[in-house]
Symmetry: C2
Subunit: 360 residues, 2 copies
């Protein structure tokens, strides 16, 4: 068997050029005489990787000088508690509840203060994100507003950055980071588990504004303290060096491709193709409200659970992998992160049309 | 440049056969049509990796049925707080202080209860570990005794497992796990960051006795709860799949080599060679008390800081990398974890003799 078309929701497809470079680095990292997994995180070879990774992310996200880039352990879920543990401290915060992940982030925050749910689409099975400003004026004393910019399970996405006044803006950008032009300098804290658009599972990028550090609780376990990680340049302990290397290579691939404008157009075209098949059909039913559709995760169904299952099996048999919907949602889900290639998406579109023709 | 002799203290040298297998898996994992970094942690291909990794560790560590194996994020330092956060809960615990890591583990524990220092070699710059039982009877009500079985910075190691009565036994085994025969069933909790003997940085193995789970605080952030990770089979969130794959391959390499008896003898022979050069010389000064010498990290000095620096530079020029001692200790350190090869150690022994002959 060879590499199939990969629609996994994450860990997800990566650029093949990056895989080839990573294979070489495993044996020897940039001529340093040691393999990527075997060289000290404090040595010159890895310091160079770290510096380039940070620089590329700063450029791509258009960060300002008052923002820090960290590479931490633990996945986005660790940020669910690390943010309120450091910054809520008995105060209040607004969470926009648009799916599984944002709901669980809010649940963790409740341990550390008051959570106001500024918006929830739970009643419609998270089929939509709010319109800009739908959360209204934030309650007095709100520390921050937290949202999830793309919802992998339901297949919805914000096409805008929330306008927030008088509070910090925080975002879990795990599943659409670097997939479109976003002004990263607007965020006081944004984070992303790497395993969608950035690299492998096991490393999380955190961007935070330096001013927040003064508000962080310093009476916490060292590994939980943002100020410690900033002071130590993400090397308070041994970071996930492998993951940081892959992130650097993915960002290099993105910059060489032409940057976010190019990937933005490509992601839009791929999404248009799949949603186009749905919209031209009475057979395929999209899960998400049209204006909230995710370009990263298209969720859909035949409307018949047994037929959905048969459809996933038929797709798998044709080398289209990872299309099963999340267990809480059912149906199908096609994940099309940055590294998804046009050939795979075209193959999926053809498959969908053919499946409809033979089962519709 | 090609691969040099690698004496890095961690991340550290890995078996070349494992690197070759990992290169292949990056492109496609065991014929599943997806690369190792790109396949779902919940899919069949990775489930197989996880099951084999767990099985191999259970065999190598001789675990009993009442012990669980977890793969968590965050490095050993996360365990420094996760253990007392879950299990100390205002009670008391004894920590044996034999170096930087055990001291910092105790510092984190003080947030959650009373710490009794059962032994400390701080006054002699951590040049030794205690004799068996030196900590005396544990204070009444002691929850657990915690120790660090090998101290990478000072270069000391316990050649025995502490006898503990009436309290749980907990061990940070990051830097000598699987380097010798140890009856893993004696430990109520043992943990190891992977980047010494197991694999890459970014994943931590935790073994814990099921009975402990009933005593864990359940009012903690989900990612901090051992019971959650046990219930979800280390998949409460996306684990560091890459790291787990490499651990599985390293354990396979170890089993194919003949298991712990074979690696034990090899590690002893390598350590004997380096300590033999020191002991036959008035020029080289070993850092550690002889009975406490680590087989994983040999620390030594010429007794002259400038000459030590020149020695590290000369070694580097000859392709012997990673010999600089920890910044807190100075001097030199030769790390010889399981994957260290005899050729490298022989080259180091020759270099040491030659350096003495030309600088002694």
């Amino acid at each position: 068997m060879s590499r199939s078309h990969n629609f996994s929701p994450g860990p997800a497809v990566l650029p093949e050029a990056v895989l080839r470079q990573t294979q070489e680095a495993l044996w020897e990292l940039n001529g340093c005489g040691q393999g990527l997994l075997e060289t000290s995180h404090r040595g010159a070879a890895f310091a160079d990787v770290m510096e380039r990774a940070t620089g590329r992310l700063r450029r791509l996200l258009r960060l300002s000088d008052d923002q820090e880039v960290l590479f931490l352990h633990g996945g986005a879920r660790t940020q669910f508690y690390q943010i309120p543990m450091n910054l809520l401290r008995g105060g209040r915060a607004t969470y926009l509840e648009t799916g599984t992940w944002s709901r669980q982030a809010a649940e963790e925050a409740r341990r550390y203060g008051t959570v106001d749910v500024g918006f929830s689409s739970a009643d419609s099975r998270y089929d939509r994100v709010p319109e800009q400003g739908a959360w209204g004026p934030l309650p007095k004393g709100t520390t921050y507003l937290h949202y999830t910019s793309n919802n992998t399970v339901a297949g919805t996405e914000y096409a805008y950055v929330p306008d927030v006044e008088g509070a910090s803006l925080m975002c879990d950008m795990s599943s659409n980071l670097l997939s479109r032009q976003v002004d990263g300098s607007r965020f006081d804290l944004l984070y992303a588990g790497a395993q969608k658009n950035l690299g492998p599972a096991g490393v999380t990028m955190v961007v935070l504004r330096k001013g927040l550090l003064e508000r962080c609780d310093t009476n916490l376990p060292m590994m939980c303290r943002y100020d410690v990680h900033v002071k130590k340049g993400s090397m308070y302990n041994t970071p996930c060096t492998f993951g940081i290397y892959v992130i650097e290579r993915v960002c290099a691939w993105l910059e060489e491709l032409g940057g976010l404008d190019v990937i933005d157009a490509r992601n839009q075209a791929q999404a248009d193709l799949i949603y186009g098949v749905m919209d031209a059909s009475d057979f395929w039913q999209g899960r998400a409200a049209k204006r909230s559709r995710s370009r990263m995760n298209a969720t859909f169904s035949t409307g018949d659970a047994a037929l959905d299952t048969a459809c996933v099996a038929a797709a798998t048999a044709e080398g289209l992998l990872g299309l099963k919907g999340h267990s809480s949602m059912g149906g199908l889900r096609a994940s099309m992160y940055n590294a998804q290639n046009d050939e795979a998406v075209q193959a999926l579109a053809s498959f969908m049309k053919h499946f409809e023709a033979t089962h519709g």
